[in-house]
C-alpha cells in the first residue's frame, strides 16, 4: 500500500505547472502499473474539508465535520499494488512528485496466508 501525504500549505504553494506535472506523473505511473499487471486499486481523496468523522459511544453514533487526527498532513490518496518486494514498491513511491513535496508511506498489507511455526 502506498499512502500519499499532502498538506494545505505545500499544495497551495504549487504552481499550475507543478500541479499539471503531478497529475501527469500519476497518470503515467498508473498506466504503467496497469500494463505491468501490478495495479490492484487506487484513488485520490477529496480535500480534507469534505471529511466526516464517525464515532460510536455507548451505541450512539456521532458524526463531526473535519478529520479525526489533529495533524498538519493528511492522506491525499493511495495505491494498492502488487510488487515483487519492498524495494520495488519504494522505487514506485519515489517516482511520485508527492514524495518531493511531502511524503509517501510504503506499508505491506496483511494477508491470511501463514506458515505453522
Amino acid at each position: 500500500m502506498l499512502l500519499i501525504y499532502s498538506n494545505p500549505e505545500s499544495w497551495a504553494s504549487l504552481s499550475a505547472e507543478q500541479r499539471e506535472g503531478l497529475s501527469r506523473a500519476h497518470q503515467s505511473l498508473g498506466q504503467e502499473l496497469i500494463e505491468k499487471g501490478q495495479f490492484v486499486s487506487g484513488a485520490g481523496l477529496a480535500d480534507p474539508i469534505t471529511t466526516r468523522t464517525v464515532q460510536v459511544h455507548d451505541e450512539t453514533m456521532s458524526v463531526t465535520d473535519g478529520p479525526y487526527a489533529e495533524a498538519k498532513e493528511h492522506l491525499a490518496g493511495f495505491y494498492l499494488i502488487e510488487c515483487d518486494d519492498v524495494d520495488q514498491a519504494i522505487a514506485y513511491a519515489a517516482r511520485m512528485p508527492d514524495a518531493e513535496y511531502v511524503a509517501v508511506e510504503v506499508r505491506p498489507v496483511m494477508d491470511m496466508s501463514g506458515l505453522e511455526m
Binding site: D111, M112, G114, E116
Partner: protein, 410 residues
C-alpha cells in the same frame, strides 16, 4: 475439480503445443486454446465428449487462431513482431501433421517458455497456470486474490516479454537446461506454497493451487522419471500437503507441527511421498528438494511429535546447508539443533544469523529466537521476541499465533 474439467486441463498443453508447432505465434495460439477450452466446457456437457477430444480442441483452436491471425490487430502485431523475432522463418514453415504432435518434449518446452528468465516470478506463475495448467484467467485471479483485469494484464504482458526476448518454441540448449529446469521446479514450488500457506479461512481457490501444483509435477515426473529433483519436489509436496487437514483450527488459526492431530494427516500421501524420496535418494543425484522431502518424511513418519528423530533432521539440515545458501534453512537448522541437543546449542547456531542482512527485521528470526529463549527458561526475553515477531509479520494467522504465545508468558 470435475473429471470433465480435469480432462480439459490435461489437454491444454498438448493442444497449445500442436498449434504453436504448426502456426507459431505463441501468444495468439495461447488465446485460441483458452477459447477452445471454453467452447468445449460449454458444448461437451450437453453433446457428450467427442471420440477424439484433443483433435476436436485442436480443430476449434486452429479455426479461432486463423481468425485471430486474419484480424486487423493481429496483422499489425505481426508487422511489429517481424522486426523482433530472431528467426521469423520458424513460423512460416508448417510442421508435419498437426493432429498428433503432442509429445513429451512439447510440454517441457512449454514449461521452459512459461518460466522464461525474462519474466518475474509472478508472471511465470500466472502464465504456467494458464498455458500448461489450462486454468482461466478468472480462476488464477481468484486464487491470488487480485482483480481479473490485473491478472489478464500480467498474462498478456508475460507473453509479450517472451516474444521480445526472441524465444522460439524449442527446448533450451543442453548447456542451459539445468538452470532452466531449476526455474521450472521453483515456479511449481511457488504455486504449491501459495495454496498451502492459505489459511482455511480464505478462498477455496487457494487450496486448489496445491492440487494443481501436484498435478503439474506429476506430469513432469512422467516425462523425466529419472530426475531426482523432480521426484524430490513431488515428494516434498505430498508430504507437506498430507498435513494440511491438521494445520489449521476451525477458525483458521495455525496449529504448530508439534500440536497437530496426526490422525488427520493423509496416510496415503505420506506413504507415497516417503517411498518417492527414498527411491530418489538411493538412485539419483542428490539435490535440495530431495533433502527437504527427506526432512518432511522424518516428521510425517513419527507416530507422535515426541517420537521425532531430531538427530536425523539435524544431519539432513547439515547436508542441505551445503547445497543451498538460504538463511531460512539455517533458522530451521537452529530449531532442530535445539530439539536434539538443547536450547543453548540452538541459540549458538542462531547467533551468527542475528547479523545476516538477509534476515534483518524478518519475523521468522524473532519467532525462532522467541521459541528457543522460551525453551531455555528466559521468559521475559521470549515474550519480547514473540511480540516483536507478531508486529513484523504481515500474516494475520501468524500474528494471532505469535500474539497468543506472548500472552501466555505473562
Amino acid at each position: 475439480m470435475s473429471n470433465f474439467e480435469l480432462l480439459l486441463r490435461e489437454q491444454a498443453p498438448q493442444v497449445l503445443s500442436a498449434l504453436v508447432r504448426h502456426y507459431g505465434h505463441f501468444d495468439l495460439a495461447e488465446e485460441a486454446v483458452q477459447e477452445a477450452l471454453l467452447a468445449a466446457s460449454q458444448q461437451w456437457p450437453g453433446e457428450g465428449v467427442p471420440d477424439n477430444p484433443r483433435g476436436w480442441l485442436i480443430r476449434v483452436g486452429s479455426r479461432r487462431l486463423t481468425d485471430l491471425l486474419r484480424s486487423e490487430s493481429a496483422r499489425r502485431r505481426r508487422e511489429e513482431n517481424a522486426a523482433q523475432l530472431a528467426a521469423p522463418e520458424e513460423f512460416v514453415t508448417a510442421g508435419p501433421e498437426i493432429d498428433d504432435l503432442a509429445g513429451r518434449d512439447d510440454t517441457l518446452t512449454l514449461l521452459f517458455l512459461c518460466c522464461h528468465p525474462a519474466l518475474s516470478p509472478a508472471s511465470q506463475i500466472a502464465l504456467t497456470l494458464r498455458a500448461v495448467g489450462g486454468l482461466t484467467t478468472a480462476q488464477i485471479a481468484a486464487a491470488f486474490l487480485v482483480p481479473e483485469a490485473t491478472m489478464a494484464q500480467r498474462i498478456s504482458r508475460a507473453k509479450r516479454s517472451i516474444k521480445q526476448a526472441g524465444s522460439t518454441f524449442e527446448l533450451p540448449p543442453e548447456t542451459e537446461r539445468d538452470v532452466r529446469m531449476g526455474a521450472v521446479l521453483h515456479v511449481l514450488y511457488l504455486i504449491f506454497n501459495e495454496g498451502y500457506t492459505a489459511s482455511s479461512g480464505t478462498s477455496l481457490h487457494s487450496a486448489e493451487l496445491t492440487t494443481e501444483a501436484i498435478r503439474l509435477v506429476r506430469g513432469v515426473r512422467k516425462l523425466l522419471p529419472d530426475d531426482g529433483e523432480v521426484a524430490g519436489l513431488l515428494a516434498l509436496m505430498l508430504l507437506t500437503d498430507a498435513r494440511r487437514p491438521a494445520r489449521t483450527g476451525a477458525d483458521g488459526a495455525l496449529i504448530p507441527l508439534a500440536e497437530q492431530d496426526r490422525s488427520k494427516w493423509d496416510r496415503d500421501a505420506i506413504v507415497e511421498g516417503d517411498a518417492l524420496v527414498m527411491d530418489a535418494l538411493a538412485r539419483t543425484q542428490l539435490g535440495p528438494y530431495q533433502v527437504q522431502a527427506a526432512i518432511a518424511a522424518v516428521h510425517d513418519t513419527a507416530e507422535r511429535a515426541d517420537d521425532t528423530d531430531w538427530r536425523q533432521i539435524v544431519a539432513l539440515y547439515d547436508v542441505l546447508a551445503h547445497l543451498v545458501d538460504n538463511p531460512m534453512v539455517k533458522l530451521n537448522h537452529a530449531v532442530a539443533v535445539a530439539m536434539a541437543d538443547g536450547p543453548k546449542e540452538g541459540l549458538a547456531v542462531l547467533e551468527p544469523l542475528e547479523s545476516d542482512d538477509r534476515l534483518t527485521s524478518n519475523h521468522r528470526l524473532d519467532a525462532v529466537r522467541a521459541h528457543l529463549l522460551e525453551m531455555s527458561g528466559d521468559i521475559a526475553g521470549a515474550r519480547e521476541s514473540y511480540l516483536l515477531a507478531s508486529r513484523r509479520t504481515t500474516s494475520v494467522p501468524e500474528r494471532n499465533y505469535l500474539q497468543s504465545k506472548a500472552d501466555r508468558l505473562t
